[in-house]
Amino acid sequence: MDMNEIKEIFFQECEEQLAELESGLLKLNDGDRDPETVNAVFRAVHSIKGGAGAFGLDDLVSFAHVFETTLDCVRSNKLEPTQDVLKVMLKSADVLADLTNAARDGGSVDEARSRTLIRELEALAHGETHAAEPAAPKPVAAASKPAEPAPVVAKPDVNDEGFQPIPFSFGDFDDEPAAQYVPTCQIVFRPNRELYAKGNEAVLLLRDLSRLGEMSVYCDMDRLPPLDKMNPEEAYFSWKVSVTTDKGEDGVRSVFEFAEWDCELDVRTIEEEIVGDAADDDEPPMQAVPFDLSLLEDGPAAGGEEEPVASESDAAAAIAAADTASKVAQVASRAAENAKAAAAAATAAQANQASAAGQTIRVDLDRVDRLINLVGELVINQAMLSQSVVENDNNGVSSINMGLEELQQLTREIQDSVMAIRAQPVKPVFQRMARTVREIADITGKSVRLITEGENTEVDKTVIDKLAEPLTHMIRNAVDHGLEMPEKREALGKNPEGTVRLTAKHRSGRIVIELADDGAGINREKVRQKAIDNDLIAADANLSDEEIDNLIFHAGFSTADKVSDLSGRGVGMDVVKRSIQALGGRISISSKPGQGSVFTMSLPLTLAVLDGMVVTVAGQTLVVPLTAIVETLQPEASAIHSFGASQRLISIRNSFCPLVDVGRILNFRSTQANPMDGVALLVESEGGGQRALMVDAIQGQRQVVIKSLEANYTHVPGIAAATILGDGRVALILDVDAVVAASRGQPLRQDISLAATG
């Protein structure tokens, strides 16, 4: 494991932390005041800072430090997280992300921007708080400054617990207390149950504390119940400790670095003058701690922690290393102390993601893909095997059949689990969009609120990776072209703050992503005129509203009067459409003047396994995704009604539903089939409407492995993908929505059509 690999891991974790940071800030923005949220945000910045310090990324460290200081003010309730404050913080999160990227990939960042933000952050931290904040942990920045005695500012009114520390001074009791310049910290430490559960140990924390300087400790056992009423894993003890140390509060806090989320911790500095005033304390005297602690050391582990807090920067580096690299490198002293690997893992996990449970590993994507392919082959092979057994064995040897059934279940489970590895929630992409919206709103001077739904909808990683670019284009368009200026919105009686809604959901075996704005909608007159000007359509062409809307997907089309930095070059929507199509997806638009536009993207869950109904159409074997099928029925002559020249309807329970002849639409046959000879599959299409697909016969229901047609052959309209059946034949998987759209009279072609449904 060389340094570069560790660094790579650091950056990967940075990405996670940045996502955490952003979602936390957004939660705060929505009015969430849960301290855990604030903590999560703080933790994210802190971890990034720590790691960056270890790798000497000074820009990142200094920015993260200022950010952290301001966040600490929020955490300690000195600064109210108002909208204005959060705006600055969200921008800071963006800059932090830029700095992280710059540190990884090289390149430069907008220095003026980060300087401005640093000033704003500092103003927030200082303006709203008192001149000094002794509580702010600032290990890294402090390293560059001369080590000043941190707790110069003392709070004389510490004594709300009736407890005064007794200064410990072994040897020279005749010292004038005032003459010592070494501050004394009073610590109230009350571990929670989680502290122990995560493998931390109060004893070790106290031992580390004792190394800072002279320490006296009082253990509060008041909460300890009798033996028969106690839970042995509950935390009952709490401690009041006073430490005289030149490390000050920062040093003390750094001891609790890994535990501070799982305990109540109060660290205060006491001025020497007031010590001793409360000599008539009725608290029991504190026990002195012997200096010889060597027996407590775990022999082999001691190497990594020779000097507990040798200097601020050492501490920071150690913290950083533990934060970022503890999983891979046994650098962290604390992790090494815990004898059990499980305990170490728990500590690392706690440090990295105290809120999110569950452990993860990082795996090279290629390995997963290889596994997925192999499992796919396994499934096909299993299907072949079971088919040949059934065919060759008419006696029905039940034991073989039972074994095969079990094998089928097992392969099914393996496949599901393997697919789940590849699937990831769309959340990271959606979070990136939040930033896009903020930036564009800033530039355009519009006020925009992004609402995301279905962030946890899972889709294959390839799709996620390729989704970001078209989505960014579309969001830019929605904010720049779609939404009106606040004044205009107000005049129209709308909320001056525009809303952009980003939704993801699973529908008929695909993922559907919807982007809706509540802006002006598409100006059809303008679009039409523009299309005529650009010779895209004939001046007298008679186009439906839908066709006009779809004109915006044409190359070289832009309705913006002037080209702006953001959008309006006319490359936007056709690029979007092409990249969506490259993913095997479709995009459609529906717009209502004055009420906004909705872009709907429907993407396949590539690489997925499909539960399909295997059907025969004109001698061909097709697979219809089961998710699309609502029910199947045998049409009766009385239920079929002719409609117009060639359309037919089927009446189902007193409602009419268009009958779609699949064989005719796919050009498998030239004449219409007799509905009475076939089976009707009632399907739900993307638009929400129901259609009855007519096929010749149903062969059965089967799980099929999707083999991409695009990758192996070329895109075939009306066909989503292909699969290999148990007998080795290739069957095509029907693209239900495309077929339904084709039945509405739109051509089943995608190259030059104006229609959005390719």
Partner: protein, 99 residues
């Protein structure tokens, strides 16, 4: 409570009294309740706060039952840790005749 037994029970503590040991130690102590108890802590190499809690809760319960609860032998790490975490067990040590 169970009937008082004249026979003095003894309990030898495991070398490592960490998180995992707390529940077991608690169960052991619960099983020994009701009679005098002598604890041998001479093998202890490491003791965590949770086990210290259990031991102290035991001492408390034994005191309520008016039964002796003593540490016959203690190892140095055990004593040091107890001192470190501010738990005073001097009065429970065997030298102090508290029978």
């Amino acid at each position: 409570m169970a009937s008082k037994k004249a026979a003095q029970k003894s309990l030898s503590l495991a070398p490592v009294l960490d998180l995992n040991e707390a529940t077991a130690l608690h169960a052991q102590l619960m099983g020994l309740k009701g009679g005098p108890l002598v604890i041998d802590a001479s093998a202890v190499e490491r003791v965590g706060a949770l086990c210290a809690q259990v031991l102290m809760a035991g001492a408390k319960s034994w005191e309520e039952d008016k039964q002796p609860f003593t540490f016959a032998k203690v190892s140095e790490p055990f004593m040091k840790t107890m001192q470190l975490i501010g738990v005073n067990i001097d009065h429970l040590l065997a030298q102090e005749a508290r029978q």
